[in-house]
C-alpha cells in the first residue's frame, strides 16, 4: 500500500479511538441496564437518536452547546424513567424475551415520533463554534471536536465509575446486579433502583447521541445501525461488565478504523466477524463472568 507511514497509522488509531468513544458510551448504558435489570434494551439506538435530535434542536434554539449537553441526557433519562415504569416493569419475571421485544416495538414508535416532530430529512448538525477546525497533534492535523469527544467520554466514564465504585448508590446497584432478593430483604426499594438505572442508561444513550451529532447526519434512521454495533461491543466486552463495555467499545472502534485503512469495504463486516469469533472462543466476552452464558 502506497504511503503507509507511521503517521498515517497513528492518525488512523486516533480516529478509531474517537469512533470507539461513542461505542463505549453506548455500550456502557446498555450494560448498566442489562447488568441490573437483565433487560436487553432494543430501543437503545432510538434513545441515541432522540438524544442527537434534542441536542441539535436545543443547540439551534439556545446557541449554547454546554446547556444542550446537560439538558439532553436529562430529557432522555426522563423518557427512560417513563419507559421503565409503565412499559418494562409489567414484564419482569416473564422471561428474558418480553422486555426485549417491547423495547423493539418502542424503537419503531420513537423513530416515527422524531419524524413527526422534526421532519423526515433530519436536522443539519453543527459543530459548536469553539470546537471547530483541526489542531496539530504532532503527527498531523486532527479535528478538534473529536479530541473533545475522546476527552468528554473519558470524563463521563470516570464519573460513572466513581458513581458505581465510590458511592452508596453504586453499591446498591452492584449488589442488586448480584442478588436482587437479598437487596430487597435488606430494605432497599429495588423497584426504585431499577427505575433509576434504566433512566441512567437511557440518559447515557442520549448523551452519546448529542456528542455524536456533529460527526454525522442527524436523521430518524441513525439509531438502527448503531444498535447492531452496540450489541457487538456489549457482547465482545461481556454483557454485564462496565469495564468490558468501555474496553470493547474502543477496541471495536479501532478495529473498524484499521480495517478501513486496508480493506475499506470489509470494515463493517469485520466487527461482526470479531463478535462471532469472540462468542465462539470465549462466549462470556472479554470481561464477562464465565458460566454466565454458554
Amino acid at each position: 500500500m502506497t504511503g503507509l507511514t507511521f503517521e498515517l497509522l497513528c492518525m488512523q488509531l486516533l480516529t478509531g479511538i474517537a469512533l470507539g468513544s461513542i461505542y463505549a458510551l453506548l455500550a456502557l448504558g446498555l450494560c448498566l441496564i442489562f447488568g441490573m435489570l437483565n433487560v436487553v434494551n432494543f430501543a437503545h439506538g432510538a434513545f441515541f437518536m432522540v438524544g442527537a435530535f434534542l441536542g441539535v434542536y436545543f443547540l439551534g434554539v439556545t446557541g449554547n452547546f454546554w446547556f444542550s449537553l446537560v439538558l439532553t441526557p436529562l430529557l432522555t433519562g426522563c423518557l427512560g424513567l417513563v419507559t421503565e415504569r409503565f412499559l418494562v416493569r409489567p414484564l419482569y419475571g416473564r422471561g428474558l424475551d418480553y422486555p426485549l421485544l417491547l423495547t423493539f416495538g418502542l424503537s419503531y414508535v420513537l423513530i416515527e415520533l422524531m419524524r413527526i416532530t422534526f421532519g423526515i430529512e433530519g436536522l443539519p448538525s453543527i459543530t459548536p463554534d469553539g470546537l471547530k477546525g483541526t489542531v496539530n497533534v504532532g503527527i498531523g492535523y486532527f479535528p478538534k471536536y473529536r479530541l473533545f469527544l475522546i476527552a468528554a467520554t473519558a470524563l463521563i466514564v470516570l464519573g460513572i465509575w466513581f458513581l458505581i465504585q465510590k458511592t452508596r448508590y453504586g453499591l446498591i446497584i452492584k449488589a442488586g446486579a448480584v442478588d436482587q432478593e437479598i437487596v430487597k430483604v435488606l430494605g432497599v426499594d429495588i423497584a426504585k433502583v431499577w427505575l433509576l438505572v434504566f433512566g441512567l442508561g437511557c440518559a447515557i444513550a442520549g448523551l452519546s447521541g448529542i456528542l455524536a451529532s456533529p460527526t454525522r447526519s442527524v436523521n430518524p434512521e441513525m439509531g438502527v445501525p448503531i444498535l447492531a454495533e452496540s450489541f457487538v461491543v456489549t457482547v465482545v466486552g461481556g454483557m454485564g461488565s462496565p469495564v468490558g463495555a468501555v474496553v470493547a467499545g474502543l477496541l471495536v472502534g479501532i478495529v473498524y478504523s484499521m480495517t478501513s485503512l486496508f480493506y475499506p469495504d470489509l470494515a463493517e463486516l469485520s466487527i461482526f466477524v470479531l463478535m462471532a469469533v469472540v462468542l465462539l472462543i470465549r462466549p462470556q466476552g472479554l470481561f464477562g463472568k464465565a458460566g454466565a452464558m454458554g
Binding site: T2, G16, I120, Y145, R146, R216, E268
Partner: protein, 411 residues
C-alpha cells in the same frame, strides 16, 4: 423545508385506503375498468429519501393537473396512484403488483433508487406495462434488464460523472481519489468518471470503498489526506454524501484538494447546510436557478410556485414532473392508451418540459438531455433556496453516452 402531500393526494389516498379496507377481492374484480387514465407512482414516501419522494409526488401531481386542465385525452382525465415503496425493492415489487393487478394502472412512473427501479422494471416488463423510471442507474439501460416497455427519464451515472470529469479535471488537476459507496451505483459513478479521466490523462490514486449507509467516514480521512490528490470525488448519494461532505470539512480536507460529486443532491444540500457543502462542485439534472436562462424552467417553476405556496421544485422533483408529462403527452400523440402505441409515440417524442430540448434514444429509451454542473455556495444567498451557482450546462447530445453496442443492444 416542510413537505406536505397535497389535499388531492391525501384525499385520494384516504379514498384508496377506505376501498382497500372495505372491499374484498371479489368486489374489486367487478370494478376493473374505469374511465380515468391511471398512472401508478411507487416512490419511497418513508425512509431516508422521503423528502425527495414527496417532492416527486408534488411535481407529478402538477403534470397531472396540467393534463386534466387542458382537457385530458378525449375527455378522459389522468389520475396518479401514489404508493410507498419504503425504498425497499421487495416492497416496490409488491406495490407494483398491487398497482397492476388490483388498480389496473395503464402505466407506471416512479422509483428513487437503483435497486427499486430495477425491481419495478422487472415486474412491469413481464406484464407488458410501460415503466418510465425517474431515478439514476446505468444498469437499466443495459440489455439484461431493459425491455421495450422500459423508459429512463433520469440521467445515468455515465452522463453525470462524465460531465463532472470533463469540467473538473482541466481546472483542478489530474490526481484523483474516489471515496465510493460500495454498491453498484457507486461503482458506476467511478467507472464513468474514470472513463473520461483516462482520455484526459488523469490517474486514479485510490478508489476507497465505504459501506453503503455508513455514518462515520472519519476512518477514511487520514488516508485520503496522506494520498494528497488534486480532486476528491465523492461517489455516493443522499445521506451518505451529506455525511461524507461534513466529515471532509471537519478534517480540513478542503484546504488541500477540490471536492466534487457526480450527483449534488439539492435536498441533501438543504439538509446539510452551507458549511458542509461550501465549495463542493457537482452534477445535477435540474436546478431551479436555471429559470434565468431557460424559458421552460421559468414556466415550470412558476406553475410549481403557484400550486405549492411559493416553494421551488428540486432536481428529483422535476423528474417526477417530466416522467409523467412525457407519458401523457405520448398518449395524446398516439391518440390511444394502448401500450405499444404509446411506446411508439414516446420513442419519437421531442420535448422541452422544463430544462431544454430532450428526446428518447431509440435503442435504450434513455432520455437524452442537458447536464448541469453547479457549485454549492454559502455567501450571497438571496434566500434559503439559493444554494448553487451554475457553472456550466452540457448540451443535449448522445456523444458522451455509452453507445448502444456497449450496452448490448443490437444496432
Amino acid at each position: 423545508m416542510k413537505q406536505k402531500l397535497t389535499n388531492q393526494t391525501r384525499r385520494k389516498m384516504l379514498i384508496g385506503g377506505a376501498a382497500v379496507a372495505s372491499t374484498p377481492l371479489w368486489l374489486n374484480v367487478a370494478n376493473a375498468k374505469s374511465e380515468t387514465i391511471k398512472i401508478g407512482f411507487p416512490v419511497p414516501l418513508t425512509g431516508p429519501f422521503s423528502a425527495e419522494a414527496q417532492d416527486q409526488v408534488k411535481a407529478a401531481e402538477l403534470a397531472i393537473k396540467e393534463f386534466n386542465d387542458a382537457g385530458g385525452f378525449n375527455g378522459r382525465k389522468a389520475e396518479l396512484l401514489v404508493r410507498d415503496d419504503k425504498l425497499n425493492p421487495g416492497e416496490a415489487a409488491t406495490r407494483t403488483l398491487e398497482l397492476i393487478e388490483k388498480d389496473k394502472v395503464n402505466y407506471v412512473v416512479g422509483s428513487l433508487s437503483a435497486a427499486t427501479q430495477l425491481s419495478i422494471n422487472a415486474v412491469c416488463k413481464e406484464r407488458k406495462i410501460l415503466f418510465n423510471s425517474i431515478s439514476q442507474s446505468d444498469a437499466i439501460n443495459e440489455v439484461k434488464d431493459w425491455s421495450i416497455y422500459t423508459f429512463h427519464e433520469a440521467l445515468n451515472p455515465t452522463m453525470t460523472a462524465g460531465a463532472l470529469a470533463r469540467y473538473s479535471i482541466p481546472r483542478f488537476g489530474k490526481k484523483i481519489v474516489f471515496l465510493t459507496a460500495d454498491y453498484a451505483y457507486g461503482h458506476e459513478m467511478v467507472r464513468a468518471f474514470e472513463r473520461v479521466g483516462k482520455e484526459m490523462g488523469a490517474t486514479t490514486l485510490a478508489d476507497i470503498r465505504h459501506p453503503l449507509g455508513a455514518s462515520d467516514y472519519s476512518a477514511f480521512m487520514p488516508r485520503i489526506k496522506a494520498l494528497n490528490p488534486d480532486i476528491l470525488v465523492l461517489c455516493n448519494f443522499g445521506r451518505d454524501l451529506l455525511n461524507a461532505a461534513k466529515q471532509c470539512t471537519d478534517f480540513g480536507l478542503k484546504s488541500s484538494m477540490k471536492i466534487v460529486t457526480p450527483v449534488l443532491l439539492y435536498t441533501a444540500r438543504l439538509a446539510g447546510g452551507p458549511e458542509a457543502f461550501e465549495g463542493i462542485i457537482g452534477g445535477t439534472s435540474y436546478y431551479w436557478g436555471l429559470e434565468d436562462r431557460i424559458p421552460a424552467a421559468k414556466t415550470f417553476n412558476d406553475a410549481f410556485r403557484k400550486m405549492y405556496n411559493g416553494s421551488v421544485p428540486s432536481d428529483y422533483g422535476a423528474l417526477g414532473y417530466a416522467g409523467v408529462k412525457s407519458v401523457l403527452a405520448s398518449v395524446k400523440i398516439a391518440k390511444s392508451t394502448e401500450t405499444m402505441k404509446v411506446v411508439s409515440a414516446m420513442e419519437n417524442l421531442k420535448y422541452d418540459w422544463y430544462k431544454g430540448p430532450e428526446y428518447y434514444r431509440k435503442c435504450d429509451h434513455q432520455a437524452v438531455q442537458t447536464v448541469i454542473i453547479v457549485e454549492s455556495k454559502s455567501k450571497n444567498m438571496k434566500d434559503k433556496y439559493d444554494v448553487f451557482n451554475i457553472l456550466t450546462i452540457e448540451p443535449t447530445t448522445e456523444i458522451h453516452m455509452r453507445t448502444c453496442a456497449e450496452l448490448g443492444h443490437k444496432a
